[in-house]
Amino acid sequence: MDIANALVVFLNFVFIPAAAYGAQLALGALGVTLIYGILRFSNFAHGDTMAFGTAVTILVTWGLQALGVSLGPLPTALLALPVGIAATAALALVTDRAVYRFYRVQRAAPIILVMASVGVMFLMNGLTRLLIGVDEQRFADGARFVINVRDFKAMTGLQEGLALKSTQALTVVVAVIVVWALFWFLNRTRSGKAMRAYSDNEDLALLSGIDPDKVVRMTWIIAAGLATIAGVLYGLDKAFKPFNYFQILLPIFAAAIVGGLGSPLGAIAGGFVVAFSEVAITYPWLKVVGYLFPDWQPGGLLQLLGTEYKFAVSFVILIVVLLFKPTGLFRGRSV
């Protein structure tokens, strides 16, 4: 029984939150890594692209709610998601046309593109705030829980409860579907293969008749889609606040770099590595240990770092990876 209790505590406070957060980071990191692989620069505006996409989705969600449309137990935001993706893709394409294309045609050094993306980041920052304001918005509706604590306790008779929020389950399910679709697209379709060829060797790809403009367009549309989905899932699970989307950029980059920039598989692995480290390092293990070793009475909470230092964990992972394995776990490009 004690082992079951320990497992439930672990699942409730570590595994489930970290898995949902990891899936959100992985989707964000996929967008970053895709742009890095194909367009060859680190897109700092990715966090704010997520915020913009989410803001549009929220506005459409409100519209749908006002019309009385709902998806039953699922959040209405899923219906609004395609509109959000379309708007974000349009914005990304306009930005590419107005900013990045100029530097690409000149074959500017990647660092110049990175700096341009910082400018774009601030612009999108402002745009999102003009659109929806700076306040926190909660737009999750439908059923809140797949399993809630009270039911779980009644069902199992365990001392500890387990909660699985529907947004957490939804996040993981959607992430799996999106990742599967992305890999299918990259490996099986003509456009996907063209994108990979362009990423491997730009000149060879051009020689074999691949239209570079089309590849760039596809990349932006896919990246915008990934960003919007990641943003909406994050917002559904937690809450939408533009500033938090700016902050989430750091763990996303940590995830992409840990996995290896340019490697989609690495981005997914990196997302989960960062999420699990953040949660596991700031989690006090006292309760879990208490169930497993009832005789041991440790003095403290068995917490490696206070929760205030959550963000520091991504920094440390970033620095360690850059020092010891700059290409990341899955052999992306070194940064």
Partner: protein, 394 residues
């Protein structure tokens, strides 16, 4: 020589007769920020008192009172300092109702109000640090220190048979002061605080903080935070993970917003906030209703009293100069003298103009103790069936 004398005499006469002036009063509250849902009712309270006095025409030979608003943001000390600076140097206010939160109040008092010699009466800054601050007798508050709230909260919790609690506080002067004074009082009375940890406002997700609190355990969770900020986030995460189902809410959390956020999910929880009972309060709530706002809002009555006290002290000192009237605030607030309820400010002015004494009771049974802070009566509230109910006063 004769001409000069005559001119001087005439000058003195004119100066004496021209007593009526336009007195500007600053209202520096957090209209944006973590307590923004409370600020409007507080402003309305302060303005109600100013209007009442201004309309009576009895203050300093018919002087009028004009309120000037400023946004103190509650959370950003630099912004609050700039706001108070503007009120004092540009608007030339004679006194300020504010600030709203403890940290910003300390900053604007020390940096601006004290050097300029302007009186500040805060309706809602409750940090124990403000009791001992060096203020040149310029700072007062119509709310009690959190040292007192810590005592009251301990009693309420222990009376319900709860001996183990976890505490989380918002990471600033208010939160830390309240959490520490509560822990000291609770442990002295025989309770145990399993953990006393901070949370930062404005995060998307508080599951990590709640996980730490849950690991330490406790029969209830004391949330010394803000309802528009991390406080609600903590409660949300604690409910979702089943970490706690009973919460204790101090003054920063108790409000309609809390009920709107959680409805019946927080049934069985309880809390307290400063609010007096009695005739003064009832009268104030009725007056507020007539003026079109909710007088039961947290700290709204305190704001009314803060503004009244300052203006009545001016009448008692026969001057709107802060250096003159600051010494009279304690006099008008406390006995001896005629008791003054809300809506009787004109009567108070008549008595003061006639050289008499008043004992301002106001909307919150004002009794200033120590360095000029309210002695403190708290109302105890419980949450049941998705509603907040007042169950008693302490």
């Amino acid at each position: 020589m004769k001409k000069l004398l005559l001119a001087s005499a005439a000058g003195v006469l004119i100066a004496g007769a021209a007593g009526a002036e336009e007195i500007k009063m600053g209202i520096s509250l957090g209209f944006t920020g973590p307590l923004e849902s409370m600020a409007p009712a507080m402003r309305d309270g302060a303005e109600l008192a100013m209007k009442e006095i201004s309309d009576s025409g009895l203050l300093l030979d018919g002087s009028t009172v004009t309120p000037v608003e400023g946004d103190s943001t509650c959370a950003d000390a630099a912004a609050a300092t700039a706001t108070v600076e503007r009120l004092i140097t540009a608007e030339k206010v004679k006194g300020i109702v504010g600030g709203m939160c403890s940290g910003e109040t300390i900053a604007s008092l020390e940096n601006v109000a004290k050097p300029n010699g302007i009186v500040m009466i805060s309706p809602s800054a409750t940090s124990p640090a403000l009791s001992t601050i060096e203020d040149n007798d310029l700072f007062f508050r119509t709310s009690p220190s959190d040292a007192r709230q810590g005592e009251v909260m301990s009693d309420i919790i222990l009376d319900r048979g709860i001996k183990n609690v976890a505490v989380t506080y918002t990471n600033n002067d208010y939160g830390k002061g309240l959490a520490d004074s509560f822990q000291a009082a609770f442990e002295k009375k025989g309770g145990t605080v399993t953990v006393n940890s901070a949370h930062d406002d404005g995060k998307a997700d508080y599951s990590a903080e709640v996980a730490a609190l849950a690991a330490a355990g406790g029969d209830a969770l004391v949330v010394a935070g803000y309802v528009d900020q991390g406080g609600s986030g903590i409660v949300r995460a604690a409910l979702d993970t089943g970490a706690f189902d009973t919460f204790v809410f101090p003054d920063g959390m108790v409000g309609q917003q809390l009920v709107d956020n959680f409805k019946s999910e927080i049934d069985g929880s309880f809390g307290q906030n400063p609010a007096a009972e009695g005739e003064g309060r009832d009268k104030y709530v009725a007056m507020a209703k007539e003026a079109g706002f909710d007088g039961t809002g947290a700290f709204s009555a305190e704001a009314y009293d803060a503004a009244s006290l300052m203006l009545l002290a001016m009448a008692a000192a026969k001057s709107s100069d802060p250096a003159e009237y600051k010494g009279k605030i304690m006099d008008v607030a406390n006995a001896p003298g005629e008791k003054i309820l809300p809506g009787e400010l004109a009567k108070a002015l008549e008595i003061l103009n006639g050289g008499g004494d008043i004992d301002y009771v106001g909307a919150t049974s004002v009794e200033l103790v120590g360095a000029g802070e309210s002695a403190g009566i708290y109302r105890e509230v419980t949450f049941d069936g998705g509603k907040m109910e007042v169950v008693g006063y302490r």
